[in-house]
Symmetry: C2
Subunit: 295 residues, 2 copies
Amino acid sequence: MFVSSRTPLSSVARTQFLEAKGGARYAYRRFGSGSDLPLLLLQHFTGTLDNWDPGLTDALAAERELILFDNAGVGRSSGTVPTTVAGMAQHVVTFLDGLGVNACDVLGFSLGGMIAQQMVLDRPPIFRRLILVGTAPRGGEDIMHLEKPRLAKHLQDPSNKGYGVLQKIFFTLTATGQEAGASFVERLAERSDDRDGVSGPGVANAQMAAFREWERFTGERFAELYTIVHPTLVVNGVHDEMIPIANSYRLVENLPNAVLLAYPDAGHGSLFQYHESFARQAAAFLSSSSESAVY
Amino acid sequence: MFVSSRTPLSSVARTQFLEAKGGARYAYRRFGSGSDLPLLLLQHFTGTLDNWDPGLTDALAAERELILFDNAGVGRSSGTVPTTVAGMAQHVVTFLDGLGVNACDVLGFSLGGMIAQQMVLDRPPIFRRLILVGTAPRGGEDIMHLEKPRLAKHLQDPSNKGYGVLQKIFFTLTATGQEAGASFVERLAERSDDRDGVSGPGVANAQMAAFREWERFTGERFAELYTIVHPTLVVNGVHDEMIPIANSYRLVENLPNAVLLAYPDAGHGSLFQYHESFARQAAAFLSSSSESAVY
């Protein structure tokens, strides 16, 4: 099957560091090959370079170059975690400028999807195609309220150690969902050295402030989405408890050029649960040369 | 491009007639080839065999056998149009039994998608995989209210002749939507003989009664969907005015094994507007041997 035949690029790619303008130092990994534009991956709440499922990134890297990135104050990147999505977006722009990448595609997951939207509003030519997974537009609803009983129960359970908590909150509690979650946790442990540290409460608190700010809007709700004409693929698990799928519905209803793909029996981590399908769909979407998102 | 290279099977396939148990006579067309199960196509409100876009059916028929069907009282099928979806579903079952087809896949569009759901509830083994396009679950909302101003305007406009009205109500009013609609209308006219007649008010009134009955529910709303474990692909245009996409959201939220694919800048006729993409996605979905809908 797929897992046994994949080239383990993700687990061996070295972490690199970029010294950027203004003295910032950003940690990243760059691997994979292909003649297409590179794909920038923007990570979820408290996630580091080591929270990307190697099952997914190996599959994506078979067809194109990937750039994994630690935002300021996360993992081994220097600086302070911004308390707004706009602040985080500015760091990604500084990083890409420093790297000399002036055009790429982007896969933004959760918080990373908000950053991707902000970046494309700030500087439209920066991305060619967008993949937004388990994320929300500005003014979205019920974004990362970890105090909800369904989530708090697992976050406060001391028996959920390390990545184990992700198995509970990123996946449905069905047998198939939990089996997929256990496999995901195993894959995250494949890398044996050169790993980022685990994010602490400082990272979590600043990012949580950014979510609260992102829920606010002024003027006509979702109006800024009308201006994003980039081909966009929106992906969500139907039973996402962290950022409910209604947010993805609002994205495709207001973005003029966005396809929605929703996965059954899946929560926030749908892209990891169905990493083979997701990589196939993403490759088909990214390799299209149409101006339309439809693939 | 695709259109110039397709084999025009749909426009030349002869209409056949099946004399079924109880004296009914059903009109159908059967064409295409492939080793997979045949795909049964169930049609929309007032639609006949000649309302299937040959651009779509030629693409689907390249990989599998298709069966197009006129329900009782529609096109050249005998009998009276039932006033319930359940009554229509019974005719399809009688037809398949008469044809000796005891297993197939189904593509149900709009009214046809409701019939497909009812059939799979009545006789679960009848279908292997379901594709439900622009349709609604029992108890859905705002199903085919043609009196709404956005729709009534076009239906009552005498300048919209023949299929021209479909260009206005199946497609968005954007330039790209209307261009796709005009191409669709041209493709519908490709067939030059052996055509069904156009449905009259008797067909429309009975089918409209079936929509009103389908909006009603008793007990827990959508609960019957939990029991449909068949792999299902749900497809909808984001801006469907005839059966709004919220109905497709409810389908995938309650069906345990359904993927949603939503198309941008598209209305009720999304499968015709994006017939090349739709045929590609449908083929990928139908050719999967997994128990999961995910492809």
